[in-house]
């Protein structure tokens, strides 16, 4: 036996289900496909055949373990007191930050 709040929520669900849904015009698909063709819509990224997608996925994730490995290696091997006092150190840090920013921006631009 349902309680009053449960009945209220069920009634609310029914009302929400009643909200309008969009019905595309009958020729929407055909018009859109034609518009895409008319605009000469070129894929933003060159289409890859399906078998290549797994390889691309691997490449997509590769920078993360590589970066972590490089960081660990640097942490372990660099003579840090000497490296930090080197005049080149701030430039290297800035270049690293800029490169990271560029990579992240590039990835962002490739999301729809």
């Amino acid at each position: 036996m349902s309680t009053e709040p449960e009945r209220d929520l069920a009634a609310l669900d029914a009302r929400l289900a009643h909200l309008p849904q969009w019905q595309p015009p009958a020729d929407f698909a055909a018009r859109l496909a034609a518009a895409a063709t008319r605009q000469g819509l070129a894929p933003a990224i060159t289409a890859q055949p399906a078998p290549g997608w797994a390889w691309r996925r691997f490449l997509h994730h590769l920078p993360l373990p590589l970066g972590m490995g490089l960081t660990l290696w640097l942490l372990a091997t660099l003579p840090w007191p000497k490296a930090v006092s080197d005049p080149l150190f701030p430039w290297i840090v800035a270049a690293g930050a800029a490169l990271t920013g560029l990579v992240l921006t590039w990835r962002l631009l490739r999301t729809p």
Partner: protein, 181 residues
Amino acid sequence: MEWLGRCARGEASACAELVARYGRLVGTIILRTLGRGEDVEDLSQEAFLRVFRFLPEFQGRARLSTWICTVAQRVAVDELRRRQRSVLIAPADEALDLPSADDVPAAAEQQQRDALVRAALQELPEKLRLPLLYASIDGLDYDTIAMMLALPVGTVKTHIFRGKQLLRERLAMLAPAESRS
């Protein structure tokens, strides 16, 4: 899914098939997000053009429908941000400016109830309103909504539950007698 590959290569018939399969879902997501019927067709078109353009980037990590819904949601939210205010179907004042329950026929009563729901939804914070609205769309499960909103599934469920509670309170305030019917 062979047609998907043809679509990624820009073949018109395959693109039309994709639109035929997901057009209604994409349009409904945009409609619910914006709360207005106007511009839905244009924005749906924009969403599909983005889908066509970025389809080769789709790597199958999520379901195709989830990915398309995410694109549609982004298009709609971009538009929402552009308008800088979220209005649901009709402004609240307009929605409430209806004849009283005493002098409307039964058919119009349902319309009045729907208008009240829309007005109450408009008063909800966006982070509760959008998951709640998406959950009411056929074909959207919690996982898809979580992906669309970039939130954990548990958070989505919490937002929906909290949204329903708040909506019930708002409805009770807007029409105390109505909300009990």
